[in-house]
């Protein structure tokens, strides 16, 4: 990264973080908490003794260089790592005060409470309506499905663009619209937490900025935990930021403004200013 870009990003950062101060300030309850969390892929440690509490109805960003374990951490929260055979998790991840790795926890039930949005938009090859209604269908939702579909599409700022083509394939939409469709699909079953794994990295800047605005709105109802490569994005949209560095170590976790303006750790400052990573 060249010096000029870094300077620009810092300027944007400072201007933008101010706008989030209003929501970041008051103390909120804890939605998700990790305690002494270690994750291994075979012999390799991906998360190293992470303890952090994630506030509810806030946007928490996980940033760090590639391979630092931020996505792994995200996927521990809804136990998507279960599907990777060599993955081993030690320690606790608490959701609503319950350790999700307890023996009596059904990951299927857990994932119905925690929605997820992925890096690449991945709508099902079904109609827009069926995409949004999928989560409701598998959960035997007995309310008004069409009303919930409309509500969810509105919540994902997509309704006005697709209301006349609900029966056409979700794959006919543009990349940005597809990603908002995936967000609508994730919020339709009314989860408590939404995990986002680099949701804008496959999108163009205009589509990405729409998603960012949307994330801001989502935090009024949901706890949003977002992994991002893009530091300016973390600065713009998050209330709290956790910086992971190589080896799966959580180096610093604080209010976003503090992380970007006055980090405690020299390593975090180096990473944010582009000297590292």
């Amino acid at each position: 990264m060249s010096n000029s870009t870094t300077d620009d990003s810092l300027i944007t950062t400072e201007v933008q973080t101010d706008s989030n101060d209003g929501r970041a300030a008051p103390a909120a309850g804890t939605a998700v908490a990790a305690r002494d969390l270690d994750v291994f892929y075979g012999d390799e440690q991906a998360i190293d003794d992470v303890t952090m509490e994630i506030p509810e109805k806030r946007v928490t960003a996980l940033i760090g260089p590639s391979g630092c374990g931020k996505s792994t951490f995200l996927r521990c929260i809804n136990r998507m790592n279960d599907m990777i055979e060599i993955c081993r998790v030690e320690g606790d991840v608490e959701f609503g005060g319950k350790n999700v790795y307890d023996d009596d926890v059904d990951p299927v039930a857990l994932r119905r409470k925690i929605g997820m949005v992925f890096q690449k938009p991945n709508p099902f090859p079904k109609s827009i309506r069926d995409n949004v209604a999928y989560g409701l269908k598998i959960q035997d939702f007995d309310g008004d499905v069409d009303a919930r579909v409309e509500e969810s599409l509105k919540g994902a700022a997509l309704w006005d663009e697709v209301k006349d083509q609900l029966d056409s394939s979700g794959l006919e939409l543009s990349g940005g619209q597809q990603q908002r469709l995936c967000i609508a699909r994730a919020i339709a079953p009314d989860p408590e937490v939404i995990l986002m794994d680099e949701p804008t990295s496959a999108l163009d800047p205009v589509a990405a900025s729409k998603i960012e605005d949307l994330i801001d709105d989502l935090a009024e109802e949901y706890t949003v935990i977002i992994v991002t490569h893009n530091m300016q994005q973390a600065a713009r949209i998050s209330d709290r930021t956790a910086v992971f560095l190589t080896g799966g170590e959580l180096v610093e976790y604080d209010d976003t403004a503090k992380i970007f303006e006055d980090p405690e750790e020299q390593r975090v400052e180096d990473y944010i200013t582009g000297k590292f990573g």
């Binding site: 809804n78 992925f118 709508p123």
Partner: protein
């Protein structure tokens, strides 16, 4: 980039290289042409001899006749395709009832449930099933399946019967369904499965609600291919089903709708189109006789049926192609 006064060598390669490139292209095109030409030649041969046949026997009589006896000892030839069509349809449909469900469920297991280890053992085993010569299936049907069915379910069954043959044709085509369907299911991107799991779907819900619909065009193609294969199957049928062009007894149901008791067809001997052709070539035949020419008419009928099946399969694949 370094400063260089020398311009790069961009001159055209020598004539020999170009000649070689041209030769390769020609060679590959020739191989493709052999396939095309063979198909065209077969079609022309079938058509020309069939036309000779239809000069003596009108097409309508051939298509609606209920008696097939091309070479009777006492004279009185008859060339009605209906009994053969019934035989072929019986085998094809019964076989489909076996190969489609078992093949599809096997494909779902292999693609979605099997561990990589189990898959690496099972897939080659299934392919061995596809490699067994069909005459072996035929003897298996005659020597084991028929006696077993006779001893347990159907004591009145005849030694040569459509059911045992159909079961073995079905088993023979399982690998075709499972292998092609499994390829289609494995091609579904993992992101779609992740999306399903992320919404709290179970493995069963992801397999049946996401993976199968997303790969339905490939699955449908595998069905059509398996059915086409069953239509053309000869050896199993000739060994296990006998070679008696039987017309089942047509009964009148309510309101005069004609129907055939399935047991009358399945538990008795019968003859398919392919077997009729084998039987004709088995006799002392001189070219140009009516029975000889009838073989080409049958071949043409079979060709048209499989061609239509393949076209349907293509249309289905196009129609339901999922862009993911």
């Amino acid at each position: 980039m370094t400063d260089s006064t020398e311009s790069p060598d961009l001159t055209r390669r020598g004539g020999l290289t170009r000649l070689k490139e041209g030769t390769y292209g020609g060679l590959f095109a020739a191989c493709a042409a052999i396939t095309l030409l063979t198909t065209a030649a077969i079609f022309v041969t079938l058509l020309s001899d069939a036309v000779v046949f239809f000069r003596s026997i009108p097409i309508a009589e051939f298509l609606t006749g209920t008696n097939w006896s091309p070479n009777p000892a006492g004279g009185g030839q008859a060339f009605g395709i209906i009994p053969l069509l019934i035989g072929t349809l019986t085998v094809t449909i019964t076989a489909a009832f076996i190969s489609i469900p078992i093949g599809t469920l096997t494909a779902i297991y292999l693609s979605e449930y099997a561990t990589p280890n189990a898959r690496s053992i099972l897939k080659p085993l299934l392919e061995i099933l596809a490699g067994i010569p069909t005459v072996v299936y035929g003897y298996f049907a005659l020597v084991y399946v028929t006696p077993a069915l006779k001893a347990t379910l159907f004591p009145e069954m005849s030694t040569f019967n459509a059911l045992a043959a159909s079961i073995m044709v079905g088993i023979m085509t399982i690998p075709m369904v499972s292998s092609i369907s499994e390829d289609a299911m494995s091609a579904v991107p993992d992101e779609l499965r992740q999306a399903g799991y992320g919404l709290g779907a179970t493995k069963f819900e992801v397999s049946t609600g996401i993976v199968v619909p997303a790969s339905i065009s490939g699955i449908a193609s595998s069905y059509i291919l398996a059915v086409s294969r069953a239509i053309g199957e000869t050896m199993i049928v000739v060994v296990a089903m006998g070679a008696q062009a039987r017309m089942p007894e047509v009964q009148q149901a309510l309101f005069g709708i004609p129907f055939v008791n399935p047991a009358d067809v399945l538990l008795q001997s019968g003859m398919t189109i392919t077997v009729a052709m084998v039987q004709i070539t088995g006799g002392d035949l001189t070219g140009g006789t009516l029975p000889y020419n009838s073989m080409f008419a049958l071949g043409l009928a079979l060709f048209v049926v499989t061609l239509v099946m393949n076209v349907i399969s293509d249309i289905i694949a196009q129609r339901y192609r999922e862009e993911y």
